[in-house]
Amino acid sequence: MRFYVFIASVFCCAFADSRKIRGISSSYKRFYRERKSFLCIDGSKLIPFEQVNDDYCDCEDGSDEPGTSACPRGRFYCTNLGFRPHYIPSSRVNDGICDCCDASDEYNSHIRCQKTCWNLGQRERAYVEGQMRTLDEGLRLKQQLIEEGVLLWREKQAQLRELQQKAEDLHLKVEEHKKRKHQADQHKEQTLKTLQAGGAGSRQHNNTASGLFQFLDNNKDGSITVDEVQARVVTIHDEKRLLSENEAVALLGGGRQMDLTMFRHTLWDTLTKGDNVKIRDTNAALDSPVVEDPLLMAADRAAKWEATNLKKVEEAYETVNMEISDLQQKLAIDYGTDWEFLFLNSQCYKLQVYEYTYTLCPFNQVTQENTAGTQVSLGTWGMWAGEPKNQYSQMVYENGEPCWQGGSRTATVTLTCGTETALRSVKEPSKCQYIMDFQTPVACQPVLKQRGIHSEL
């Protein structure tokens, strides 16, 4: 019922002022009521009403010719029943090109325009529905990604904490190993010193049991051990041969160590009176104490061992620190209010355009590769560069490979709403300035109001 009324009103109005109404939206109708005269909308001039839409421009603001091309600043309203109404510049009225889908702009030209509003409207509605579906689906996916993003963010934070803990532990270890290495180094140095002093010392102290004992007691702990024996005592027959552990134990009277009192009564005699073993000829030993001296070799080995250990721990510490700073750097990037863009980090998206393959690794870099496999950097992550209203709608990657005429390549990535995450297009409108269209659900924004397609006046 409402529909009929509406049709009737259209007809009635169209009849009443069919000429004058051309090119006016209903909200402007009040300015064009049929009277004796017409006041230009800007108030600048009063003209007879017959001069409205008479194909001559009287008003500065073009308001007297809404339906013709006469005014340079005029505009024509396409009613476009069934589709979106919109204004076109007056210059497009009767220019032989169909602009309004209701064909209203070409009422006096050679061209016959198809009325396409219903089709366009349907297509538009289908499109908008599709868009809405995409948007809904996109927003749903986005929500998921936000949830995942939060989890991922937490995970990353946990990972960071873990790493930081690990780093702390490693730090302690490093300190400990530094100490140990220091000790080992000192011991080694001491051994070397003793050894160097020992050449003279051995003869000096060989005369008394306590002197010899002290000489043999390399680490000055008050007892002689197996390795100390091995270090300084050799068989008379073969001075070059190292005593075996069993032999050393035998010399120590079957034990693994021996004190001075015991020494006076056993080994001292064996060494001074026997013809089986003797103190290594220290003169010969002095020539290359480090290589030859088993005690020194042991100390050296120990020092090296500690050094290696320290290095290993330090490396581990460094690695963890690097991981931390990497992660911190990553986490310092703005991933959106809900960390919804976080999942893009560590992903890469490819697109082939003509002879080039483009790779976008969000928050990292953009590259271009030709068919021959040569890769060119188009920029590394710079910043978000969308409008203040939605800064997450655009990314900039900068400082790519330098250009021939100066400057370096940059890539501007526009993010649009879609149900899949993918690189959609790449263009190079000016040399070295790349523009990419990147589709992803996280770019979907809830829309408060959809621009409607009116199906009535």
Binding site: D55, S69, P72, S91, E355, C403, W404, K427, E428
Partner: protein, 929 residues
């Protein structure tokens, strides 16, 4: 997309040995001293000429005089031919009497064998002869010893030839191969008294000099199998202090003297980043010079297509204004005189002396020889959007949509070399331009057009049809050993079709047929670039002079190559439409006569203020020698313009004949809407002004086509007696009625324009303010200012409904701008046809005279035998400098009368007649009472 082309560009730069800096590398181009013949010829100093006229050999027929000249130094005889041509032109031809082999005479440039007028002998004695040049008491005096020619009118000498004794003619000779053989031959000749003395062609003159038989420049050797062949002649111009023309040079309008530097050079060259204000050769060459003083304008047309140098000297050059005044007061000094000397490498002396006496006469005289400007399609006078390159079809679509979105009109979008499949012209990149017809249809739906580039270098590639055809038909230029000449250009190794060959040209033309040129449509037009020809690895970036065009060396025909390329291309565009549609072809290289085939532009300029400034004298100089359809790349090709420079360039370009924005591949995008809304609005306004004036531009081109008058004119052409105009080249006239002084200074707050004409008035076209003529007027300017004035006494039709393209405006009504002179009269013309076909030749047009006198404005048919109907009507008449009428009556063709509404602005004295409504093609009268 970047890396490959960039690397290519880099390779090219290396190939050209260019610094990549922002100025030309002069080392790539010869100075006169490095050009052997120029050096030889310039070494000759003024003095007594060795040439003597043998009066006894004189033959005078109805149409010509012939006479032998002899060089007393070497006894070589020359044949002088002298013709009196219709329209006050004298032609002087000098060739060897018996050349060893024929010398090249330039074909195809003259539109026909020029019709002659009878010469008559006035007197003769042993010193010379006096001939009458028909009317106006003009005589030519042939002096015998030494030979010289003086052209007189009354008691005044208008021009003298060989008055400084610089006639030189290097006769063809056999090469004296080895010194032994040489001396033997000499001995033989010496001991052979039977040899007729005059045939013994040897003297000190004949001594071999360096560079006569071989010349090396950089790594290039020019083998010269024909030996020396240069020619030279001097012209004296008494009373002349201003000479113009001989384009193309990046030079002021008024030519400078060359005593302290190189002569002006005419040799078509692809000059990378050319410098301003110097005599170096550029892309085109028109060997025509105009000489002007307040009494007379004359012209010299030196018809020779070989490398040519022109020396200019003057006895007043260097004198200060005060010095000249002193001379004048003391009444002492000699009359001012300019001396000109032409030197060419080969060919013959064939010179046309155009005797004016007015500038318009000289233009008509030159047009009678080489033809007039082709009548372009109306749309080609509108705005062109170009860039190297629009990347793909999508890009084209977006740019097209951008113009609509920002409501800026345009008619043509252009595609540079990247649109092709690997720089194979006549093809399309299979990915980026996969469906060219779809793209062209999209443009056609908006009533717009496209231009795609077709260069004359052809990729050597056996899978390329064009190459295979040219090769199999033997159409390539040959190298000196007889093989196909190959050079390096955009596609890499390339062959160069021999466009001097008529068969080649007609084959080339046939390649533009829709079934040959795949993807082409009727709204696709052509651009010929690199047709100097450009050869990246050749001497001076062009072709080796010893390359062969059939029997002739490239040396002989070099400056003609680009002329022929455009000729063949234009012919192709005509043929593809069955002879119906007018072609549009842009060329970079050109020669005398190129005006017949389309438009030219000033090549690869730069985004600098000085380049903007020089666009005016460069196009003015071209207009003076017949080439009216001239423009410079708006915005500058190299480098990136500031938004101020870009806006100023649009404002200037909107008032120059060929209006195209163009940009180098490596520059950032610069479509008009990329510089903020304010600049977009300024550019939009400039382009819209162009579109409103299209009826006037079209009329100017119709007139240029009919009469040969330039469209864009120096002020002195219209005010030849006002010396203040003689050197002005920062402002110009369009036709006779619009004076333009564009703003070409950075940060300008005002310009000073000279408004010529003692009894004239000029109306500012924006404010309608009236100014008196013969004054320097200071005009304050803002960024939106384009100082343009309409001459009082003129009527200019405009179409004020600016639409998307000129074609969309076809049926729109006119507004007539009637600017009254102090006598309260005005006149103008209106020309209407279909805008794109040759049907105007079948008298399908409207041509009306609009005339205002005695308070009556009337439209009178100038072509009663022509037929055309238009829907366009007169929507408005604006009369500037009017007084208020009490009543305005319109009388239409059928005698009906009606009252017109009007408005009168008394502050500016502007009367606006509201909607008279008569059809633009009919008779009518409007009476003010």
């Amino acid at each position: 997309m970047a890396s490959f082309t960039e690397r290519m560009a880099f390779v090219l730069v290396m190939a050209l040995c260019l610094s990549g800096a922002l100025a030309v590398d002069r080392g790539n181009f010869k100075t006169c001293d490095q050009s052997a013949f120029c050096k030889r010829q310039r070494a000759l100093k003024p003095g007594e000429s060795p040439y003597r006229a043998l009066l006894e050999t004189m033959e005078l027929t109805n149409t010509r005089l012939t006479l032998q000249l002899i060089n007393d130094n070497n006894k070589v005889r020359l044949l002088l031919e002298l013709y009196r041509l219709q329209g006050n032109i004298t032609r002087v031809k000098i060739n060897e009497l018996k050349p060893l082999k024929p010398r090249f005479e330039v074909p195809d440039v003259l539109v026909r064998e020029p019709p002659t007028e009878p010469l008559s002998l006035l007197s003769q004695d042993e010193n010379g002869v006096v001939l009458s040049l028909g009317a106006e008491s003009q005589r030519v005096i042939v002096s015998a010893r030494p030979f010289r020619l003086d052209i007189m009118e009354g008691r005044d000498v208008l021009m003298s030839l060989n008055s400084r004794g610089l006639l030189a003619f290097e006769h063809l000779r056999m090469r004296k191969d080895t010194s032994q053989a040489d001396s033997e031959a000499e001995k033989k000749e010496e001991v052979d008294p039977a040899n007729p003395a005059e045939q013994t062609t040897k003297d000190e003159d004949d001594k071999d000099e360096d560079g006569m038989w071989e010349e090396t420049f950089k790594s290039h050797t020019d083998g010269k199998p024909n030996g020396p062949s240069a020619i030279s002649l001097d012209f004296s111009l008494p009373g002349v202090e201003h000479v113009y023309g001989i384009p193309e040079h990046a030079e002021t309008l008024r030519l400078k003297t060359t005593d302290n530097g190189d002569p002006y050079r005419l040799y078509n060259l692809d000059v990378f980043q050319y410098e301003l204000f110097n005599p170096m050769a550029l892309y085109g060459a028109v060997p025509v010079m105009l000489a002007h003083n307040s009494q007379r304008t004359t012209g010299i047309f030196w018809l020779n297509a070989a490398e040519t140098w022109v020396d200019i000297s003057s006895n007043t050059a260097g004198k200060t204004v005060f010095g000249k005044m002193l001379d004048y007061v003391q009444g002492s000094s000699e009359t001012p005189q300019t001396d000109v000397r032409w030197i060419s490498e080969s060919g013959i002396i064939d010179v046309f002396i155009m005797l004016g006496p007015t500038p318009k006469d000289v233009f008509s005289q030159y047009a009678s020889l080489t033809g007039t400007q082709s009548f372009p399609p109306l749309s080609s006078l509108a705005y062109h959007q170009c860039r190297w390159n629009y990347n793909d079809q999508e890009d084209v679509k977006l740019v097209d949509a951008g113009f609509d979105e920002h409501d800026i009109p345009y008619d043509f979008i252009w595609l540079d070399i990247e649109h092709t499949d690997g720089k194979r012209y006549f093809t399309w990149d299979p990915h980026k331009f996969a469906t060219p017809k779809e793209m062209l249809q999209g443009i056609m739906d908006k009533k717009r057009k496209m231009v795609a580039i077709v260069d004359p270098h052809i990729k050597v590639d056996s899978n390329y049809k064009i190459h295979n055809e040219i090769r199999s038909r033997g159409f390539y230029i040959k190298n000196k050993d007889g093989g196909d000449y190959e050079g390096w250009c955009w596609p890499g190794s390339a062959g160069y079709p021999d466009f001097t060959c008529a068969d080649m040209r007609s084959w080339w033309a046939s390649m533009f047929a829709y079934d040959q040129y795949g993807g082409s449509m009727e709204n696709l037009y052509t651009w010929n670039d690199m047709n100097e020809p450009s050869v990246f690895n050749g001497p001076e970036v062009t072709m080796h002079k010893d390359a062969m065009h059939g029997a002739w060396e490239h040396r002989d025909v070099h400056n003609l190559y680009g002329f022929y390329v455009q000729m063949a291309t234009a012919e192709g565009l005509i043929q593809r439409s069955g002879g119906v549609e007018r072609p549009f072809v842009l060329t970079r290289a050109f020669f005398a006569g190129s005006q017949r085939y389309g438009a030219v532009w000033t090549g690869d300029n730069a985004a600098e203020w000085d380049h903007l400034k020089i666009s005016i004298p460069m196009c003015l100089s071209l207009g003076l020698v017949g080439i009216s359809f001239c423009g410079a790349d708006v915005g500058g090709f190299f480098k990136s313009p500031s938004s101020e420079l870009l806006v100023r360039w649009y404002q200037t370009g909107a008032y120059q004949p060929f209006f195209r924005a163009h940009a180098h591949l490596d520059t950032p995008r610069r479509e008009p809407w990329l510089f903020g809304p304010e600049n977009t609005a300024l550019i939009r306004e400039a382009v819209r002004q162009r579109y409103t004036l299209l009826p006037y531009w079209y009329l100017q081109f119709y007139q240029a086509h009919c009469t040969g008058q330039p469209v864009m004119r120096p002020l002195w052409v219209e005010y030849p007696q006002d010396p203040a105009t003689f050197a002005i080249d920062d402002e110009f006239l369009i036709g006779t009625d619009l004076l333009v002084h564009p703003v070409t200074e950075e940060g300008a707050r005002g310009v000073t324009a000279y408004l010529p004409g003692k009894n004239e008035v000029w109306f500012d076209v924006n404010t309608f303010q009236k100014h008196n003529g013969a004054q320097n007027l200071y005009i304050p300017v803002t960024m939106s200012s384009i100082p343009v004035f309409q001459r009082g006494g003129s009527i200019i039709p405009r179409k004020l409904r600016v639409r998307r393209s000129s074609t969309c405006m076809e049926h729109d009504p006119y507004t007539l701008f009637v600017a009254l002179n102090p006598q309260r009269t005005a006149e103008g013309e209106l020309y209407i046809d279909d805008g794109h076909t040759f049907n105007y030749e079948k008298k399908e047009f409207i041509h009306r005279k609009l005339f205002f006198a005695n308070n009556i404005l009337s439209s009178i048919n100038l072509a009663p035998d022509a037929k055309f109907s238009t829907q366009s009507w007169i929507e408005r008449v604006i009369i500037l400098g009017a007084s208020k009428p009490s009543k305005v009556t319109l009388q239409t063709a059928d005698g009906q009368e009606s009252q017109l509404e009007f408005e009168f602005d008394s502050s500016m004295s502007v009367l606006t007649l509201r909607k008279p409504g008569m059809n633009a093609g009919e008779d009518w009268k409007v009476m003010l009472q």
